[in-house]
Symmetry: C2
Subunit: 694 residues, 2 copies
């Protein structure tokens, strides 16, 4: 091959052969293809096609200091098309990003060394297949599931606006950073990104810039197989500033677009960049074969030749390229140092806010914050846990100013508003109550982004709609960020709205997620401890499951303290010795279990009541504690929960039974449903007697 045609060769309109930028761009490209080839798996094409604009953004615009990669006021760079992870790893390598631990302390290693790149996609490496938060310094959020990064980014942008509104003072722009997203056709097709874009447009988040890699290629072939909408027009409809770049090689046009973004103060910016996937590959460029899998030696040699690169070299990083990149991005060191000085002065001038800032940045809570947790008096009529949850939230909100959240158009029902917190809106970015609209998935993704930006974020919707936002719960658990997901209307207790609105399998299905703490408190005081558990968590996302309908507030002089919730499960009844039977319950069924135990006592049966609000917490207790709550010798056990029976066998065993749901619910007043599905005192007592063989 002597020449490559224009379809496969980078156009030359801006980055000319021989320029130092071109050298850096081609370094990214060749590292990406070499790494994929060595791993024999991965996605080279997009990393190659986006290299010019990525290099431009990082060397000219991104406010990021590789020497202090966790600097709080850095710009964020999110690779929503996470499959192109080699692009990000190449950038982290070229920028000379140092590795730091989660407190920002250097480990003495590079974030991504050349050896790490050679270990791409290998066990235990810092270069996994998709970018994983916590695995690699410089990865702002875990991406890969398409749309996720776009969704997160709105949370990053919300957080910056809130932090600026809350902390900035005249002369002290502590927060004024931007968030950039690189995204792909897949991101544009996913509904979560549509929801996120609509929220961002509504909130006029002018600190947010999405770059859309429009390459006409997906896995099944050309995008026109399934996607021919006008994306630019769609974003205009969302209220975004939109820019089309005809050629990803045209870095001058891209730089101009970023300037436009930075000059725009009343809306987010969307930049569609038309690119050729796998640019430079002799036969695969511009085809779906460039998307994934090792390209093969011929393609790689051909591409390198087209770049004027030594064809025999692998993992070549020209010193000049690295020096250029490091020097260009090194401009931010002074900016960062100035910021640190500014914060020092800020601490002097605003000591209270300075202290708050330090606590927040450290991921800790104000000492004694939990003194504000309310105590609820015994009350046979009781209250709904959503009601108690709202009271708890409002009691603790003053103590944790950076507790910020909102609901998916259900705040009056979920009781998740912080009263007097104000609405977070364009023009009032200091508000603590977000109105996410009827966009659960976008809400969860944004909340994760907020949690990644220091805020203690929470969401609110009906429990059944956890299904709509499930991918975000999973990502919170994978990333180990302590987002708090409040879900109310947690069972057939929803009543008349019927089966589509009555959660059944949701408890079981969330309990199955590793690293997710699903808590369903059994009275108002357990609800207070549920909020405490969630807020004390630094690496575990929590799901707080609250009822629509009231439940008794137990008399804790008569029963053991609700603090037992923190261990996941505890003995509620103050029983001595070995019980005849154990009744295990959660949420609204705790009161029923207590009543059943009393009834059984009348017949001379010693029934222990165990509250088990969190399987997750209980499972990590030591065996001795677990055995003290559920003595192995007592196999007569009944679990009571208005949810799926699935998963309860762990605690009731072969000899036990459950009073749970095995079908969907129905539309009827709650009392009718409880009778229909067996959640009555008589039925629980009956089942308990069956288990005891009486």
């Amino acid at each position: 091959m002597s020449d490559t045609d224009t379809a496969t060769h980078p156009s030359k309109n801006v980055v000319e052969d021989g320029s130092i930028d071109r050298l850096a761009i081609d370094t990214i490209r060749t590292l990406s293809m070499d790494a994929v080839q060595k791993a024999n798996s991965g996605h080279p094409g997009t990393a190659m096609s986006l290299a010019p604009i990525a290099e431009t953004l990082w060397t000219q615009f991104l406010r990021y200091d590789p020497k202090k990669p966790l600097w709080p006021n850095r710009d964020r760079f999110i690779l929503s098309c996470g499959h192109a992870s080699m692009l990000l790893y190449s950038l982290l390598h070229l920028s000379g990003t140092i590795e730091v631990d989660e407190h920002g302390q250097p480990t003495g290693k590079p974030a991504v060394g050349l050896d790490d790149i050679k270990q791409f996609r290998q066990s235990g490496s810092k270069t996994p297949g998709h970018p994983e938060y916590r695995d690699t310094t410089g990865v702002e959020t875990t991406t890969g599931p398409l749309g996720a990064g776009c969704g997160n980014s709105v949370g990053f942008a919300i957080a910056e606006r809130w932090l600026a509104a809350h902390f900035n003072k005249p002369g002290f722009d502590i927060f004024d950073h931007d968030t950039y997203v690189f995204s792909s056709d897949g991101d544009m097709m996913e509904g979560v990104a549509s929801e996120a874009a609509s929220i961002a447009g509504h909130l006029k988040l002018s600190n947010l810039c999405w770059v859309y890699d429009s390459n006409d290629i997906t896995i099944e072939g050309d995008t026109n197989l399934a996607f021919d909408e006008n994306v630019i027009e769609r974003f205009k409809a969302y209220g975004w500033n939109t820019i089309l770049i005809e050629d990803a090689e045209d870095t001058a046009a891209f730089a101009q677009a970023i300037e436009t973004f930075k000059a725009t103060t009343d809306k987010p910016t969307f930049i569609e960049v038309r690119s050729i996937i796998g640019i430079g590959f002799p036969t695969r460029a511009g085809t779906h074969k460039a998307h994934s899998d090792a390209p093969g030696e011929d393609e790689i040699r051909g591409a390198k030749k087209s770049y004027g690169w030594p064809e025999d070299e692998q993992f070549l990083v020209p010193e000049k390229a690295k020096a250029h990149f490091e020097q260009a991005i090194g401009r931010n060191t002074a900016t960062r140092e100035a910021w640190e000085k500014l914060v020092g002065d800020y601490r002097d001038q605003y000591p209270d806010l300075g202290k708050e800032l330090d606590l927040m940045l450290a991921g800790t809570l104000p000492e004694g914050w939990d003194a504000a947790l309310p105590h609820f008096e015994p009350d046979a009529k009781g209250m709904a846990s959503r009601e108690a949850g709202g009271k708890v939230l409002n009691a603790i909100a003053p103590a944790i100013p950076w507790l910020v959240g909102g609901a998916a158009d259900l705040a009056p029902s979920t009781k998740t508003d912080i009263k007097d917190g104000g609405s977070f809106e364009a023009g009032s970015y200091g508000g603590r109550n977000l109105h996410f609209g009827i966009r659960e998935h976008g809400m969860g993704a944004a909340a994760n982004g907020m949690a990644l930006s220091y805020l203690r974020s929470y969401t609110g919707t009906f429990f059944v709609f956890s299904d709509y936002m499930r991918p975000t719960l999973r990502l919170a658990a994978i990333m180990q960020v302590p987002t708090i997901f409040v879900f109310t209307h947690d069972s057939i207790g929803v009543g008349e709205d019927g089966p589509t609105h009555q959660p059944i399998e949701q408890l079981a299905s969330l309990r199955a997620v590793p690293g997710l703490d699903t808590i369903r408190p059994g009275d108002a005081n357990e609800t207070a401890y549920a909020w405490k558990a969630a807020l004390d968590s630094q690496k575990t996302p929590s799901v707080l499951v609250f009822s629509r309908q009231p439940m008794p507030t137990l008399d804790r002089t008569k029963y053991n303290s609700a603090e037992g919730l923190l261990k996941g499960g505890y003995v509620v009844t103050k029983d001595e010795g070995t019980p005849d039977i154990i009744l295990i319950a959660t949420g609204t069924e705790l009161g029923l279990a207590v009543a059943a135990a009393e009834k059984l006592a009348e017949g001379g049966t010693k029934a222990r009541v165990v509250s088990l609000p969190s399987f997750h917490r209980f499972e990590v207790q030591d065996q001795a504690y677990k055995d003290s709550v559920l003595p192995p010798s007592v196999t007569a056990r009944v679990a009571i929960e208005q949810g799926s029976e699935f998963g309860w066998d762990r605690y009731v065993g072969f000899a036990g039974k459950t009073v749970t749901m095995s079908t969907f619910g129905a539309s009827a007043p709650i009392e009718k449903l409880q009778a229909k599905f067996g959640f009555t005192l008589d039925n629980v007592v009956k089942v308990a007697r069956e288990v005891m063989g009486k």
Copy 2:
């Protein structure tokens, strides 16, 4: 009050006071408010505001015969804003729709009588809180979870295009119906509706019309709290024909818009109708208080007064109004009768297609279809179940022409293409392979709509992305429609793509869904039976979980038949008497269990291997069968599955153990992951010995 102001009073530009249409409209409105008031719960406002256009659509346009409500070529009316269910119940009542059983046979009752309306939201009524498919004749699909109806509607429209392309012949337009959707602000915000709209625009589904009730009100207050995008412009960007109606009272403009829809042949139509929620209520009209809850006597009396309605009457249905409505919609009876005659002639002229049509409409499969199921020869190296699944699908596809499906841009990986089936595209609507794009939620919703329109529909994507489309799996189960959801790449076997792409909790979380048959076959022959199980299901949706990586094809002369899959679980080893230990496995771990049993046999241990591909099927077997597979006396049990341990206690009990996952996976080649997480012969044998105390 003598006069109501213009904000709360219906404008008079078309439907004049005293007109018969106005009488019907006000009947719908007053029935809706009376029913909500009596039930003391529900959503009156939207039913009231949409009454004029609903009445216009039904009396002037909808091709629907209340005497034969399941007539296959009827237009479909979908109330995506299902909370406004009283609108639909009122329409079914006024139209005189008769109740039929699922075969279309009359039961002798009205679909919705006045007594049913008085039982709104009560236990066992035909008028549940949200419209439930199968509960009420005339409800085309279950709606309530927002966006769901919009998503379904695309499937209805796809089905009509496919049925027309497949069955119609010159002079025989057997299928030529339209699908109408009434939707709300919430539908417009949900990502699933965005995905669905993009698909519909791409496919140029000109038989699809969405009416969007734009009333500026949601539960938290004005929609401008969270929603101010330009919806019309967004739909233009999707490639839709768009029309804005300034006033929902302007029925002439709405009729004109429907005429435009019917004349449009190259794109779907989107009609935004601006309305006043709860129109007529003296104080609640146009506010979020009109959205839900009983309005109270004062509001109701005020509204009735504003309509010129007898204020003291409740559930009043003027005879004139009902007669008018029945007569107007009665025009379709002749159309339907002509269609039946046409089909009769069609059967004569095209007997093969006629027979196919009858089978399909009856929800049955051609006799002997399963003779085409392939048998796979024993093979120690074996094949991936996705590979086997693709072979099975292609083997049976010729036998079931109306088996139609597609993937979310992963067909080359999921192997769900029907070779030679052609693509379903604008201009080739007879194709059997849909390209849904990277829109899993929209795909699932469309597949349910297709299943509700006679097609045997299936979807394809990676198993981890089942999370994106979970609400549609749940709705399939609630509706009892046999949609087939194929998911591949079912475990850490995904390898290098890492934790975001490796399903862990997905198996458990789907097993917890009532009425959903989740099947993970353990070799190629089990895969064939998995497809058989799914296709033989008439009321149960199936989830087929296939591996990326190969597994051995067992020698069924040595082991029991894979047909055991149909019972959910069966003994694989041809063992006699009581085993020392039972190894239970699914999917790729079945081969591992078999190998472990052989290894244990070398040490003199009699190990039974049980394959348990479907908990759902196994649980409904009689106790004797279950005990024969898992003898209660044998408590030494080990379950092996590359998924969450959650839910396995049911089968292993307190005395057993599992080799399962309790964390997320990692990015590495598959062999490394299997070693890391214990899915090795040595580890399984070790755990088995631990369980036996050896």
